[in-house]
């Protein structure tokens, strides 16, 4: 804070930029630009996997930089930088780590997919790194303008990523849908920024908080409207009901690795922004926003659990499941205590691994053309691909909250926060929604372990779709009537097991179990992050 004071004296002069404080974001942005540059300079073919591996290395560097910042924060305390626009505290660093990890996993996951679909190239990774940088800015922002900057950087890169599969109509449709609704929500957010500025005279989160602490706002309609709009804008990003309508369509249409990455990063960043705005600026208006968040949480839990029951497409199902998970994180927020925040943070960290791992399986099972996403396509998977099925079963069990996995501890930490804050009805609702959600996770698990299907008309249709959508890269032999190898979704009919994806699966499964058995490190991390706010 002393640094902030010094910076405050510099007046209107261009602010001093403390580059170390934004090192992870810089690493990602610069690496993205360099990669673009390199790609245009060396047009010749690069060894396969170069882009993905470079991205993973960059993500690792950004983890290293975040680690350094974590060390700084622990020894010297939280501080702000760049004229108080950016906060370097435990909370920021937590999200910097989380986003870097998600980026590395997403890059490894995408590598084979892009080659398989004939989309290989550096652009995907450039966009991923930029979106991650945007997400990081959102997480470290200490100013509504920076929040907006991060939000837009993240979103615009994600719009393009959602439409990255050029030859799939669904992909473009998802991108358009995401873009239109996303732009709308950004506009709402921006209007919220304007109203908040009008009411408090600042866009700086800390200063807004200080203003509210120092002044009695008699007629606070403008302020409340601004806050509501900020919540709506960020609520859209995290797909909180009733701002969730885009999410099933976009999850379904976007290329599967993008869906996994997006589910992890956009959600984490959105919650980072929401937490920051609510706790840094509006913590004094708690009595105003707490009921709103509680209602959002309840709706999100219920819709996420119930609507998923009738889905027949795995990606839509996962979309609703992720809505249900968002509901749990909102339960943590609604508690409005430091236990609630650390519970929400832990939840997001655990969820990152569970969701990227799940989408890694979905990517593989989707096969060439990225089209086999009906639940029926999972029938009998265990027979042909026991490891894949076992990992997916593990991750789904974890998502449903089975003990000795991070999934349970995540639910436990937010529920216990809600209980400590005495919001018993919300806690009970959340647990019951988890019971309902178990139904659809179990359905997938049952299908995987059920016996192999008989060839049916629907399966042939699925094949036709996959052929039609596959584009030039399709290498399936023509689907004759007596071609069981191609008709059956099991067996050696196109599920490749690339090492990078296996690595992702291994990491996600190992993290989910190991941190479930030995929870102290991440629980402590989340707890410290919420204390060093």
């Amino acid at each position: 804070m002393s640094l902030a004071g010094i910076l405050g004296l510099s007046g209107l002069v261009t602010p001093h930029v403390d580059y170390v404080s934004i090192l992870p974001e810089l690493i990602l942005s610069v690496a993205a630009l360099l990669m673009m540059l390199a790609a245009s300079l060396f047009r010749r073919a690069v060894p396969r996997g170069t882009w993905a591996i470079s991205t993973a290395v960059v993500a690792a560097a950004s983890i290293g930089a975040s680690w350094y910042l974590w060390d700084q924060v622990q020894h010297h305390g939280a501080h702000t930088a760049v004229n108080e626009a950016v906060a370097v505290d435990g909370f920021s660093v937590f999200f910097l780590m989380l986003i870097s990890v998600a980026l590395a996993l997403g890059a490894l996951l995408a590598d084979d997919y892009l080659r398989r679909e004939g989309l290989d190239g550096p652009e995907f990774y450039v966009l991923a790194m930029l979106s991650a940088a945007g997400a990081m800015f959102l997480a470290v922002a200490n100013d509504l303008i920076v929040v907006f900057l991060g939000l837009e950087t993240l979103s615009i890169a994600l719009y393009v990523l959602a439409g990255y599969h050029l030859r799939r109509r669904e992909s473009s449709e998802a991108a358009i849908k995401y873009f239109v609704l996303g732009a709308f929500s950004s506009a709402v957010f921006l209007y919220g920024v304007a109203l908040t500025y009008g009411a408090t005279g600042s866009t700086n989160l800390a200063k807004i908080g200080a203003f509210l602490a120092g002044n009695q706002v008699v007629d606070n309609g403008v302020l409340l409207a601004g806050m509501a709009m900020l919540i709506v804008g960020l609520g859209f990003k995290v797909a909180a009901v009733p701002f969730h309508a885009w999410s099933p369509d976009v999850y379904q249409g976007a290329p599967t690795p993008v869906t996994g990455y997006m589910a992890a990063v956009a959600k984490a960043a959105g919650f980072a922004g929401l937490l920051r705005v609510l706790y840094s600026s509006f913590s004094l208006l708690r009595t105003d926003w707490q009921p709103v968040i509680t209602v959002l949480a309840a709706l999100t839990l219920v819709v996420g659990a119930v609507a998923a029951l009738v889905q027949t497409d795995i990606k839509r199902l996962m979309a609703y499941s992720s809505i249900n998970h968002a509901g749990f994180v909102l339960v943590g927020l609604a508690a409005a205590t430091s236990q609630g925040i650390s519970g929400a943070l832990y939840y997001l960290f655990a969820y990152t691994f569970m969701v990227i791992g799940s989408f890694a399986v979905i990517t593989l099972v989707g096969r060439q053309g990225d089209a086999r996403h009906r639940l029926e396509d999972y029938r009998g998977l265990a027979r042909a691909r026991p490891v894949l099925a076992a990992v997916f079963a593990l991750l789904l069990f974890a998502q449903s909250g089975v003990p000795f996995t991070t999934g349970f501890l995540a639910k436990f930490s937010v529920i216990s926060a809600a209980m400590q804050a005495r919001s018993y009805p919300l806690a009970i609702l959340a647990m019951l929604s988890a019971a309902v959600a178990a139904v659809y996770y179990l359905r997938v698990i049952f299908l995987m372990y059920a016996s192999a299907p008989e060839p049916s008309p629907e399966l042939t249709t699925a094949l036709a779709v996959s052929v039609a959508g596959g584009g030039p890269g399709v290498s399936l032999p023509s689907a004759g009537a007596g071609e069981p190898v191609d008709v059956l979704p099991v067996g050696d009919d196109g599920i490749a097991m690339p090492p990078a994806v296996l690595l992702v699966l291994g990491l996600c499964a190992a993290f989910t179990v190991a941190m479930g058995l030995w929870p102290d490190p991440i629980v402590d991390f989340a707890r410290h992050a919420s204390l060093l706010f």
Binding site: P386, P403, F408, I415, M419, Q420, M431, A438, L442, D520
Partner: protein, 529 residues
């Protein structure tokens, strides 16, 4: 009130050179992982490894029970380590008279369930899930930390789900398995809420968050209303698991759809776990609320008895018929427990053990019978006795044990239960006795249908093979042993049962905020049969 809560004095090893209780949990869990990693081609090896590991666990459990000190009410072999420090969760295990024989029976049943039934596909995964289930059950039975208990309790769900969904018979098994999972999960969800509420309410008065069972039992400053709510939250989980009457509907489906091994474990272990939970958590943690809620529990138990047998009589499928008698038998146990008398309480715990053994044996034999005849319809059975006299004899023995014929285990438990209930709740005892008579009717009728008369289909049962005899033998030994010489068992159960009853009595005598329950004060009678 703390004087009533003797805490175990024994050292960590209890005379063993190593912490035996963690070993009982870790051995099956580790072997489950090993089996999961084993190549799928090594099915026979997996069968042997699975059976071997579960036999080791059984050996450990029996050794533990042998070293268990008689006449002590507290927990023994206690092991405690910090686990999730930020939440105050400990890895704390221990056994007392309530749990010791349930642990032993559970550990003995699993090798039988792994090696006994015919498993028609993927014995490797079957054994792995069984062992994971065993780790969950045993862990839950020995946990002295509420959250640890909850974790183990929940850990039983995925394996049980898989055992029903993958190794079950008919296409309806998916629905049955899901129903089982969701019912239990929902019940557990309420328990988790109640658990957290209890912990945080205690933390508010004591200043630090702990899930330690002993600490929470010792210091409770809850008002009557709150403790009743918490009691109901815990009871929700166990009422589904036991199951008690209106929450039983998942049971017949799950029992019928599960494979033989799955049915055995459900009948022999899962329900046992539910009853154990009622005693350990509902009654011991909330003695006051238990007394207030006793009329409700007694009523539900009694309804379960009558309902279970009446529905059982009209079933045509042998597995479904026996499944409904389970509802009734468990109702008898609930009535005995909530009568709060020395005999009823000890009898309830003893009968929980007995019932686990007998019912597991019953479902194993029914599984063998169905395998032989290719049908589970009673009407299509008959005449097995002529071809397979030994099979019939064993089946009859198990049937008589369930019915409660003197000299076998069921008699001791049921006698104590009915005697205890009669002392305080005469009319409930009448209902329960009628139920017990009906049970004889149902079981003997089923036996007669299946084994007597003439074969009604072309297939008649073959005699028990040597392997099958070997597998059934330990259960038969237990059935006779528990029936003929109950004293060593009751001597170990009684002190702990008395400890809990003393708590109940004290709370009922000095009701902190509550008037005595309508049913009157529990009368304690010293006599031992």
């Amino acid at each position: 009130m703390t004087t009533l809560l003797p805490v175990a004095q024994s050292t960590a090893g209890g005379g063993f050179g190593f912490p035996i209780l963690p070993a009982i949990v870790i051995v099956p869990a580790t072997m489950a992982v090993v089996l999961a990693l084993l190549p799928r081609s090594r099915q026979e090896l997996a069968r042997w490894l699975g059976t071997g590991a579960s036999l080791v666990v059984a050996g450990l459990a029996i050794a533990m029970a042998v070293r268990f000190r008689t006449g002590q009410a507290g927990y023994q072999f206690v092991v405690a380590h910090d686990w999730i420090r930020p939440f105050g969760v400990q890895w704390k295990l221990g056994v007392d008279g309530i749990s010791v024989f349930i642990v032993v029976v559970t550990a003995v049943l699993f090798p039988v369930a792994i090696a006994g039934p015919r498993v028609d596909r993927d014995i490797r995964s079957y054994a792995a899930w069984m062992l994971l289930l065993e780790a969950g059950c045993l862990g839950a039975l020995m946990s002295l930390d509420l959250l640890l208990f909850f974790l183990f309790f929940e850990l039983t769900l995925p394996p049980m789900y898989m055992l029903i969904a993958r190794w079950g018979a008919s296409p309806r098994r998916s629905g049955a398995a899901t129903k089982f999972f969701v019912y239990t999960f929902a019940g557990s969800a309420l328990m988790l809420i109640a658990m957290l509420a209890l912990v945080f309410l205690e933390a508010r008065s004591s200043g630090h968050v702990t899930f330690d069972l002993l600490t929470l039992t010792a210091q409770q400053h809850l008002s009557k209303d709150i403790s009743i709510l918490l009691f109901l939250g815990f009871a929700a989980a166990f009422a589904v698991k036991v199951p008690i009457f209106p929450f039983h509907t998942w049971l017949p489906d799950a029992q019928v759809e599960a494979s033989t091994g799955g049915s055995m474990v459900l009948a022999g272990v899962m329900f046992t776990l539910g009853t154990y939970g009622l005693v350990r958590f509902c009654i011991e943690l909330f003695p006051g609320a238990s007394v207030s809620m006793a009329p409700l529990m007694l009523t539900l138990g009694a309804i379960g008895i009558v309902y279970g047998f009446l529905v059982a009589v009209v079933q045509t499928d042998i597995k479904r018929m026996i499944a409904y008698t389970l509802v009734a038998d468990l109702g008898v146990i609930v009535v005995g427990l909530f009568g709060f008398t020395a005999q009823g309480f000890s009898g309830g715990i003893y009968q929980t053990v007995n019932h686990g053994v007998s019912m597991a044996a019953m479902f194993l034999l029914i599984g063998l019978l169905i395998d032989r005849l290719g049908t589970s319809e009673l009407a299509a059975m008959g005449g097995v006795q002529k071809r397979a006299p030994i099979f019939a004899a064993v089946f009859l023995l198990v049937t008589l044990s369930v019915v409660g014929v003197p000299g076998l285990n069921g008699f001791i438990g049921e006698f104590l239960l009915l005697l205890g209930t009669f002392l305080t709740h005469r009319w409930w005892a009448v209902v329960a006795t009628v139920g017990v008579i009906l049970a004889a009717l149902v079981f003997l009728w089923a036996y007669q249908q299946a084994f007597h008369g003439t074969p009604r289909t072309g297939r008649v049962g073959a005699e028990l093979s040597a392997r099958e005899l070997l597998v059934v033998a330990p259960l038969v030994v237990l059935i006779v042993g528990l029936g003929v010489y109950p004293r060593p068992f009751l001597d170990r159960i009684n002190p702990s049962a008395d400890r809990i009853l003393a708590r109940v009595a004290v709370v009922a005598h000095n009701p902190p905020p509550s008037p005595p329950a309508a049913s009157g004060l529990p009368r304690r009678v010293e006599a031992q049969p």
